[in-house]
């Protein structure tokens, strides 16, 4: 492994040696290549003069030096355009300028797509990459950038948690990890932003909320491993590249503003006061006297119409050698549950200055925001469901003025009291900035040096306050205040060389990149918790004396050092090859595994192009190895943990704090994913119909897992180590159709269709490939109940439940479960006349116990379909985003825990019941019945936006209106079939329907 350490350096050296030698008197051909129609400069065009060649830069310019004197055909060629030639004569020592304009054939193929450490033309790409432009972004109330591409990329599942500004998860081609993060790596303006969801820190909402979606120019998703592999040990979950907007034209002042209103779509089904009274009378007659005669709709007490507003002001402009864009944004969005709000003040600045005839290009990108978040106190949603509907909201005689059960700690408590008396809020500051310098070496055309230096700093402050007079606190004698204060400072320095040119003597052009990257992260997390408050007077604004205090401060440092290199070789746009290699050294890997190597290779073969019927047909195949190191720091060290003041041990009359050594695997290392991808890019009728089909397999090995180890070998029975493997397989189909070309006020209609299927299977948990399983998925109700399983042969997090038996009327039989064949019975089953109930060599064992639970469906959708339509008619435009999932299952935990009459008679005061109890009649909760695992398939109109553009004072203005979540069709009986990623609907935040109206103006 050690000899690979300087492979990056070797690649650099290779690049330096590339200069070609010219003989005799030579001249130079230079010029600019543009689109014949739009006059826009064309980047990446191969221009040749005899055996010499060059590629155009972003402004369309090219320079071919060292051309022998004489007459030449200067040829310009790029996929998507008809080639052009021009004859010229080169005179030694002189420069001849040849400008060329190309006629478009299939424009999309020449579009520049941002890839890691560079950009490529869409038509050249050998991997599975999808770039989304602003006109395709989801409109309306969008707080976090991830929401922009919801339902826009085949194979990328975007999951939000319904809260305003709530965290957004993206699963690209399924989850690749169980213990580490399955979130993609985000790269903002070329700067990788840490591991896990969006890197950075936050006070509880999405960490990317600091980035104003209005500042985003494009989002590119690197789906297959070969495209992502240049990011090595962080790339196994795919990569999301975000480019922010820069100044163009102008000077220009733009304002874009909107207001919105959100309302609740669905709430849990609970008994109404009348039904509840009847249930208590029947099942807990002794408690009828406890009920009062009120009729309270507890959800009606805690929900609301959430209003929102957003304002963005942008000043941008462009000079001869520079451009700038400054933006300021303000957003406030109230959630549909009282007490939940998100607010953002953001600033953005992009500045670009070119020196030395554009040889040196310096770009500065700065983004920063303050996020203010209010959260619903943790117990409010659960208590709104469980609080008896017969009880009043207010009670003037109680300590708080709110009615509450006064006995039994397990009783539901008044959610309105929590909302009005407790607080739960956070403030996040985050800023990201980088300086990119690109230098085009004058002595070798096509060679560029890049230096990127960036920072990402954040501070998150989160505080909870539960006053001691709240009923739940009174019963425990508490009153609680908790403060978490985290800071994070990351710095990134990256340098790389890029050489793009034609190759002397060989057909085609080559693009070489080689570089070095250094990332450092410093975290400081201060935690303070106190119970038994001496005063409620100051709320969450102060730390008051308290009975019990526990606090800690934890500093972690992380470092990642990488060398990387990439070769792209393109022969006449017909054959394309790409290979990359990244070598990562990470502080998270054990000392014996400090360095990892992540290679990739890809080929593409263009079968057809430029035809009027078949305008493009390209076959791609790739393989790559990527890693995942989004797990904790210092796992390779045996550490000691101090006890808190509540876990001391008594020696005589003294209480001693204790120390605990940790179990450790010093050989811990990255998770490794090997992925294969075969794809077809197609375009017909001059690209009016175009799209891709991809098939992939991702095998993840060395999954990090918190696994049992043999007793007597380590300092606990579980240790975090690399032990499991799993597989994701799937296909993705996308089609983009220009159904009707617009223009001159006529109807224009572009329609995109995506379909993706992913199948996940856990292959093994330990090397012996035994049938061992690990239970996951904790639920509400009971103690320690887990309803999901990690079991080889099944998808991860499959529900692990009993098969419910039903009576003739179709009613589930309480405690009636199918006795699964679990006992090996070769005698009975192997005989000529198998005994009843024998399945294979197994028979039922006659009792219902844990061995009769079986994996039954899983939360991940098997198919995701999405459709977007973009219509224009005159000055009006309409866009629609539809999404459907098939085969995602949800465990309705509200029904399983509240859908049983025992909730009326237990040690707690009677709680309200979920309406399924009327159907099931369950007395004792049946947590493990598959009755509660429901098909969550749905069809949803995610977004519909109607706009009208017009000129005002010679400037383009636009008004628009958006409806988000216009409707959802589903058979699921709970609150939302997209119940987070884990598929357990346990009092999740309800989904809202949002109406937004806004306008954008320019001056």
């Amino acid at each position: 492994m050690r000899r690979l350490r300087h492979i990056g350096g070797a690649l650099l050296a290779l690049l330096w040696m590339t200069p070609l030698h010219a003989q005799g008197p030579t001249g130079t051909v230079s010029g600019r290549v543009t689109d014949q129609g739009t006059q826009a400069p064309l980047a990446g065009v191969t221009v040749t003069a005899g055996s010499r060649g060059a590629r155009t830069s972003a402004d369309g310019r090219y320079t071919i030096s060292g051309v022998p004197s004489g007459a030449f055909e200067v040829r310009a060629r790029i996929i998507g355009y008809a080639p052009a030639t021009h004859s010229t004569t080169v005179v030694g020592g002189q420069t001849v300028v040849v400008d060329l304009a190309l006629a478009p054939q299939a424009v999309k193929l020449a579009e520049v797509v941002v890839t890691g450490y560079g950009e490529q033309r869409a038509g050249d790409i050998t991997g599975a990459v999808k770039q989304i432009a602003p006109e395709e972004f989801n409109a309306g109330r969008v707080v976090s950038p991830g929401e922009l591409i919801l339902a826009k990329v085949a194979g990328a599942q975007v999951v939000d948690n319904n809260e305003p500004g709530g965290s957004v998860s993206i699963r690209i081609r399924g989850a690749t990890s169980i213990t580490a993060s399955s979130e993609p790596l985000y790269v903002i303006d070329g700067q990788p932003v840490g591991t896990g969801a969006g890197g950075g820190i936050n006070a509880g909402r999405d960490p990317l909320n600091f980035l104003n979606p209005n500042d985003i120019e494009s989002i590119t998703v690197l789906k297959d491993a070969s495209a992502a592999a240049i990011y090595g040990s962080n790339a196994a979950n795919g990569v999301v590249l975000i480019q922010t907007k820069t100044g163009r034209g102008g000077p220009l002042i733009e304002y874009r503003g909107s207001v919105s209103a959100s309302s609740v779509t669905r709430l849990p089904s609970l008994l109404n006061p009348q039904q509840f009274r009847e249930a208590v009378a029947q099942y807990a007659p002794a408690r009828v006297s406890l009920l009062s005669d009120s009729s309270t709709d507890w959800f009606g007490q805690i929900d609301r119409t959430g209003l929102g507003q957003e304002h963005n002001l942008v000043v941008s402009g462009m000079g001869e050698n520079s451009s700038y864009r400054l933006s300021v944004g303000y957003l406030k969005q109230d959630g549909i549950i009282r007490g939940s709000t998100t607010e953002r003040v953001s600033l953005g600045a992009n500045f670009d200055q070119r020196f030395f005839h554009d040889d040196l290009d310096i770009k500065l990108s700065l983004k920063g925001a303050r996020g203010g978040d209010e959260f619903t106190p943790t117990d409010v949603l659960g208590n709104a469901a469980a609080m008896a509907p017969t009880q009043p909201v207010l009670d003037p005689t109680s300590g708080t003025g709110y009615w509450d059960w006064t006995t039994s700690n397990a009783s539901p408590s008044n959610p309105v009291a929590s909302l009005n008396l407790a607080t739960n809020r956070g403030v996040t500051y985050r800023s990201l900035g980088n300086l990119q310098a690109q230098y085009a070496f004058p002595f070798l055309t096509g060679l560029k040096a890049n230096v990127n230096a960036g920072y990402d700093i954040g501070k998150a402050d989160r505080r909870f306050f539960f006053p001691s007079n709240l009923a739940a606190q009174v019963r425990q004698g508490h009153g609680q205040f908790q403060l978490t204060n985290s800071t994070q400072a990351n710095s990134v320095v990256e340098t790389y060389l890029n050489y793009a040119s034609t190759v002397g003597g060989l057909p085609g052009s080559i693009d070489l990149t080689g570089g070095y990257s250094y990332t450092q992260q410093h975290d400081d997390r201060l935690f303070y918790d106190e119970r038994g408050l001496s005063s409620n007077l100051l709320g969450d604004n102060a730390i008051v004396p308290a009975d019990n205090v526990s606090s800690n401060d934890y500093i972690t440092d992380y470092r990642l050092i990488s060398f990387f290199g990439r070769v792209n070789y393109n022969i006449n746009d017909r054959y394309m090859f790409a290979a990359s290699l990244r070598r990562d050294g990470s502080s998270r890997f054990g000392a014996n595994h400090a360095w990892g190597v992540f290679p990739s290779a890809a080929v593409a073969w263009r079968l057809a192009s430029g035809g009027s019927k078949v305008s493009d047909l390209k076959l791609r195949a790739s393989w790559a190895k990527t890693g995942n190191q989004a797990f904790g720091d210092y796992l390779q060290y045996s550490t000691y943990t101090y006890s808190d003041p509540l876990t001391q041990y008594q020696f005589g009359t003294q209480f001693i704090n204790t120390i605990r050594p940790s179990a450790v695997d010093p050989d811990i290392h990255w998770e490794e994913t090997q992925a294969y991808n075969v794809g077809l890019d197609y375009g017909f009728l001059n690209q009016r119909l175009s799209g891709t089909i991809d098939w992939y397999v991702k095998n993840t090995d060395d999954l990090i897992f918190y696994v049992p180890v043999a007793a007597g070998t380590n300092l606990s029975n579980y240790v975090t180590t690399n032990i499991a493997s799993m597989r994701n397989r799937g296909i993705e189909v996308s089609l983009s159709a220009v159904v009707k070309q617009g223009g001159r006020g006529g109807l224009g209609w572009t329609a995109d269709f995506n379909a993706s299927h992913n199948g996940n299977e856990l292959i093994s948990i330990n090397p012996s490939k035994s049938v061992k399983q690990v239970l996951t998925g904790s639920i509400s109700g009971g103690v320690g109940n887990l309803v999901q399983v990690l079991k080889p042969g099944s998808p991860i997090n499959s529900f692990f439940v009993y098969q419910q038996k039903y009576d003739d009327a179709g009613k589930p039989i309480e405690g009636g479960y199918v006795d699964q064949p679990t006992v090996l019975d070769s005698v009975a089953c192997g005989s000529a006349t198998p005994a009843a109930g024998c399945v294979g060599l197994y028979r039922p064992d006659g009792v219902i116990n844990d061995s009769d639970r079986r994996p039954y469906h899983d939360p991940a959708p098997k198919w995701i379909f999405s459709h977007s339509s973009y219509l224009t008619l005159g000055k009006a435009d309409l866009s629609i985003t539809l999404r459907a999932y098939l085969g995602n299952y949800v465990y309705n935990n509200v029904a399983s825990s509240l859908g049983a009459y025992q909730n009326l008679t237990g040690s707690a005061m009677p709680s309200n019941l979920q309406a399924s109890v009327l159907e099931t009649g369950f007395v004792v909760p049946q947590y493990y019945s598959d009755y509660f695992v429901e098909d969550g398939s749905f069809l949803r109109l995610d977004n519909i936006t109607l706009g009208y553009a017009f000129n005002y004072g010679g400037r383009p203005w636009r008004v628009f209106g958006t409806v988000q979540n216009a409707f959802t069709l589903t058979g699921y009986s709970g609150v939302d079939p997209t119940a987070g990623l884990n598929g357990i609907d346990n009092n999740i935040y309800p989904r809202s329907r949002t109406f937004t109206g806004g306008l954008s103006v320019q001056f």
């Binding site: 990642l560 502080s587 400090a594 943990t641 320690g784 844990d850 040690s907």
Partner: protein
């Protein structure tokens, strides 16, 4: 198309300069840093922890605490072991489950994973509670081994800590006691298990299984070796292992030696018990009840306890579990100084019938749903002896199969023996967490071990009778319950243990020693999964080696019958 001849040029010197600068920057960065390793800052590791003198005591305290708390955050939140709900995974709670729930003493109605099968004796090798107990035993063993490795004299000298050498020697003896205690539990519950000591390196290949009698011999020799090095009984030793604690463990081991090794050690058991009794360090508490109250640290009878404290030592296991879970139905939590009742375990009718009228050890029994306070509850219990069946709302005392349902707390008499109230009627420091210490060894048991060893070996019967009657006189408040020599039989002693040590996590071992645990000669409610009770499948005298463990450690052989 426009063609002309021109020159793109610029100040060559500036261009060259900038090129060189860029190249230099690039080169500088590339060689700048190639070492990714980062040492932890806010974290203590093996490399630095033992330079702190306090660490030795803190580590030892952790091993002691391993019996009663579940992790480094109270009452939960940073668990020691995985694979089980943290609260369930507490050492003494698990030990109590395994020692009490399958016996004639306790039934528990919860559906926590693995628990229902403990009521009936139908557990399998994948039982969560059984598994967690196995891992708790070895968790303790591995902590002790690591402690012993880190505290050899040479290491102390190397860290400049030789001045605390004598203190550390005592700590090492205490650690070895705790390892012996857990191995004693391990061999009693699981039979043949691996024997791992401080000489085995950490993280090595899975250990080999050794025979039960080898573990027995190892534990006995360890206890005899360290006895003299343990702290002396005294206020500063409360919660710690003394020589008497080691002798009590020896007495229990010898009493069951026939089960463990095939060879009886009655004389050794008698001698070990006598050493404890004769040490003069302990005396019977005048009130039986005061051994189980929030201030039971004041009882002169307790030899070794796992101390709990509402403010400092919090757990969902141990006494927190025993106090909360013994209360339910119409009982009020406030009678026991708590926030609420968990409605968990209660007695079988077999255990109930052991208590006669006037035996104050049965004074806690609560068997009616109609009582309104603890005083009334006690009166109702007393009235039972007069056949006042109207007070029996839920169980039929005349039938052996009358606990109609395991799942319902109000089927069967509760016995809230443990409480978070003090002996003087005050409340513990907190309502949710209890102050009551978990008695592991107390003098009352020493008397009963002595008596049984005497009866079984046919020696010292007179002394045995005296000891037994000391317990009887305390229970009856006088001589009313005294027995005579002919009444001092093995059957009587098993019953007496049932009365004296009810719910003190001794019962399963007792029934096995008497050959009654899995047999059909003595059955109790729900034994074998039948309301009236039936014999258990052969092999239930031992718990299974966890199924997971057989996979993780291919050296292991499963116990017969699983």
């Amino acid at each position: 198309m426009r063609i002309n001849h021109s020159r793109r040029d610029g100040p060559m010197s500036t261009r060259t300069w900038s090129g060189l600068a860029a190249a230099a920057l690039l080169g500088l960065a590339a060689v700048g840093c190639t070492d990714p390793m980062v040492a932890p800052k806010s974290t203590v590791t093996t490399a630095n922890i033992f330079t702190d003198k306090a660490a030795y005591q803190q580590f030892l305290a952790k091993i002691y605490a391993g019996l009663i708390v579940t992790g480094q955050r109270g009452p939960d939140g940073n668990a020691d072991i995985g694979g089980i709900d943290e609260g369930f995974g507490e050492y003494l709670r698990l030990y109590w489950y395994l020692q009490e729930v399958p016996t004639d003493e306790a039934l528990i109605g919860w559906n926590d994973p693995g628990l229902p099968d403990l009521n009936t004796g139908l557990w399998g090798a994948d039982n969560s509670m059984v598994n967690a107990m196995y891992y708790r035993v070895f968790y303790q063993v591995m902590l002790v081994n690591e402690f012993l490795r880190q505290t050899v004299d040479d290491s102390l000298a190397a860290r400049g800590q030789s001045d605390i050498k004598d203190q550390v020697h005592q700590y090492r003896a205490e650690a070895r006691f705790l390892r012996a205690l857990s191995y004693a539990h391990g061999l009693d519950l699981f039979g043949d298990i691996p024997l791992v000591t401080e000489t085995d390196p950490l993280g090595a290949t899975p250990p080999k299984q050794v025979a039960r009698d080898s573990i027995f011999k190892y534990v006995v020799s360890e206890l005899n070796d360290i006895k003299g090095s343990l702290p002396a009984v005294g206020p500063s030793a409360y919660g710690r292992a003394t020589e008497s604690a080691a002798n009590m463990l020896l007495a229990e081991l010898y009493l069951n030696a026939g089960v463990y090794t095939g060879t009886d050690h009655w004389a050794d058991a008698l001698a070990a018990a006598q050493t404890v009794i004769g040490s003069g360090s302990f005396s019977l508490s005048p009130s039986f009840h005061s051994n189980f109250t929030a201030d039971n640290n004041l009882s002169p009878e307790l030899i070794y306890v796992a101390p709990q404290d509402g403010n400092h030592t919090q757990t969902w296991g141990g006494m927190t579990f025993l106090v909360h879970a013994g209360c339910g139905g119409s009982m009020l939590a406030s009678w026991f100084g708590m926030d609420y009742c968990w409605g968990g375990y209660r007695m079988t009718q077999q255990a109930y019938r052991l208590f006669g009228t006037g035996d104050s050890r049965g004074a806690f029994i609560y068997d009616s749903l109609t009582a309104v306070d603890s005083t009334t509850a006690r009166r109702q219990r007393d009235s039972l002896a007069t056949s006042d069946t109207t007070k029996w709302t839920k169980i039929d005392k005349t039938r052996s199969d009358s606990a109609g349902s395991v799942g319902s707390f109000d089927q069967g008499p509760a016995n809230p023996k443990f409480t978070n109230m003090t002996s003087t009627g005050g409340r513990g420091a907190q309502l949710g967490m209890v102050d009551t210490d978990f008695p592991i060894f107390r003098l009352g048991e020493a008397y009963l071990i002595y008596a049984e060893a005497a009866v079984r070996s046919g020696t010292n019967r007179a002394q045995a009778l005296t000891y037994v009657n000391l317990l009887r006189e305390r229970a009856y408040g006088g001589a009313a319950g005294d027995i005579t020599d002919p009444q001092l039989t093995l059957d009587f002693l098993l019953s007496e243990r049932g009365r004296e040590l009810l719910f003190e996590a001794k019962r399963r071992t007792d029934l096995i020693r008497y050959g009654l645990f899995q047999s059909g000669t003595y059955v109790w409610a729900w034994k074998g999964g039948v309301a009236g009770g039936t014999a258990l499948t052969a092999g239930r005298d031992l718990y299974p080696i966890p199924a997971n463990e057989l996979i993780a450690n291919p050296n292991l052989k499963q116990n017969p019958g699983y």
